[in-house]
């Protein structure tokens, strides 16, 4: 059967046969970079279209349906438009930082891609601190937003950046705790080991109620961390025009926009890896026959299916719930999510020590 694993293996063998190891490594790096960029572009196009279609259906509309069959080329046309637009820089802005900010945001999103396991044995860098790496790098993305807000020299941008900063810094805590519950159960930070530990069932099913609670907390926290509605105060159109990217136009705006969607994709892949078994097919305990049938579906399909399920969930939130006020936002985090996740972590630790999980 053709799988991503065998493709990478044949490529590597072929490169090693043709070139010296160092050159082969360089070529592999270039291939990986190109693949990552392609993935970003495709994801951007697909996710934006998906979002608009989901939004339309939820609001009893049709959504984009003019460019191409069913409107599938709408986002491509939008991108073309954004590319051709002029990238303005305000006169009194800090020009260097203003132009640097979108690239910082984008670079952070790219770095986050490294430890994600897309399919069986298909991973760029199986770093031994996997999830810690992800939570540390994702704390960098707030810098890009703060930079953009300050450098624009615009009060709306500044307010948006401050809101977003406060929000990301506080919700990182409960997201971190939710991740920790799985780390406690698995006993490892490495993504490949976390996936391997779910071979006889996903943690969401194996870990009883506490893991379900952790999953819910994780989804709420990452929705806030990616600045999406109902936590989109940072770019609340009605009060701050567009928040930290008010002054951006053309391709620089497109980079922010793209980074937002890439971040959603990445947090959903992490959620899928931690709670839904990553690329691991649906296995139930010792039902050998059932497990065997499930193995016939390629691992990459499993992974993408789970990820897109979570993405859909987050989109569903966005088009259902009204936006929170700043005080409600901080109340939710510090009075509800954080105490609950602390208590929950305690419970999970007890479960892990006593070995009560399946």
């Amino acid at each position: 059967m053709l799988s991503l694993e065998s493709i990478t293996k044949t490529t590597q063998d072929w490169l090693l046969a043709k070139f010296s190891p160092q050159i082969a490594l360089t070529i592999e790096c270039v291939i990986v970079i190109l693949l990552a960029i392609t993935l970003f572009a495709v994801l951007g196009l697909v996710l934006v279209l998906l979002e608009r279609k989901v939004a339309a259906r939820i609001q009893i509309r049709l959504g984009p349906n003019r460019v191409g069959p069913g409107g599938i080329f709408q986002t491509a046309a939008d991108t073309l438009k954004l590319i051709m637009k002029e990238g303005l820089t305000p006169d009194t802005a800090d020009k260097f930082l203003f132009n640097l900010a979108p690239f910082v945001v984008m670079m952070v999103a790219m770095l986050l891609l490294a430890p994600i396991a897309f399919a069986k044995n298909f991973q760029i860098w199986d770093i031994n601190i996997g999830v810690l790496y992800i939570s540390s790098i994702s704390s960098l993305s707030v810098i890009g937003i703060l930079m953009a807000g300050w450098a624009s020299n615009n009060k709306y941008s500044l307010l948006g950046a401050m809101r977003s900063g406060a929000q990301i810094v506080s919700y990182e805590l409960s997201a971190g705790f939710a991740v920790l519950t799985i780390v406690v159960l698995t006993g490892s930070l490495q993504i490949s080991e976390i996936v391997a530990s779910q071979e006889n069932g996903w943690w969401l099913f194996k870990g009883h109620i506490p893991v379900v609670i952790a999953f819910v907390l994780y989804i709420i926290a990452v929705t806030a961390e990616t600045n999406r509605a109902p936590f989109d105060l940072a770019e609340a159109e009605s009060e701050l025009t567009a928040g930290f990217h008010t002054e951006y136009s053309g391709m620089k705006f497109a980079l922010f926009f793209l980074a937002e969607y890439i971040n959603i994709f990445i947090v959903c892949t992490i959620g899928a890896t931690l709670f839904l078994g990553g690329w691991m097919p649906l296995h139930i305990g010792h039902w050998e026959g059932f497990n065997h049938i499930m193995d016939f579906i390629p691992s990459s399909v499993w992974f993408m299916g789970k990820t897109f399920f979570l993405i859909f969930l987050i989109m569903w939130f966005r088009w259902t719930f009204p936006r929170l006020r700043v005080d409600q936002l901080l109340n939710l985090e510090w009075k509800y999510l954080l105490p609950i996740s602390l208590f929950n972590l305690l419970l999970v630790t007890v479960i892990a020590i006593m070995g009560w999980h399946f």
């Binding site: 339309a56 939820i58 009893i60 259902t320």
Partner: protein, 158 residues
């Protein structure tokens, strides 16, 4: 007590959120609820609501008669000076002079479709029509005379 309040808070919050998600989830999965009109494509079958206000018209019956008495109440009611009524005097068969309209001039480009004229008319001579395709190449086409040529007032309307 505090803990009980806290837990019921969380419970109520979660259930109300789930209720909202059920509603939107219902709409997402039921495509027959979609209300979007594919306008230029479905022009032939397009149905507009009765109370849609697109322009002021004066209905005429089969005998080419309307009920406008030329009282100019609509002209006075219009905040924008959209309506101009030109009156004339007609001889009734009994030999009496009677006021009637010569032309009801209506300038669509100045109309805000506020419905005040329709409300002001004592004899229900004008109404709003659901017509919205108003674009023309020459703005003089937007100045319309609402009473049809040769029309006259219906018998019995004073």
């Amino acid at each position: 007590m505090f803990l009980k309040d806290y837990i019921s808070d969380v419970y109520n919050g979660v259930t109300s959120l789930l209720k909202g998600m059920r509603k939107t989830g219902y709409y997402f999965t039921h495509s027959k609820e979609i209300i979007t009109e594919q306008y230029p494509d479905n022009r032939a079958t397009l149905k507009l609501a009765d109370r849609f206000k697109g322009e002021v018209v004066m209905p005429h019956d089969e005998q080419n008669e309307h009920t406008c008495t030329g009282c100019t109440a609509c002209e006075l009611a219009c905040p924008n000076g959209t309506i101009k009524i030109i009156t004339k005097f007609e001889m009734t068969p009994e030999g009496k002079k009677k006021k009637a309209i010569d032309s009801f001039i209506y300038r669509l480009e100045m109309c805000t479709l506020c419905n005040l004229c329709v409300a002001a008319c004592p004899s229900d001579a004008i109404k709003m029509a659901p017509n919205f395709e108003h674009s023309v190449f020459d703005r003089s086409k937007l100045t319309k005379i609402l009473n049809k040529p040769g029309s006259k007032i219906k018998e019995g309307v004073e």
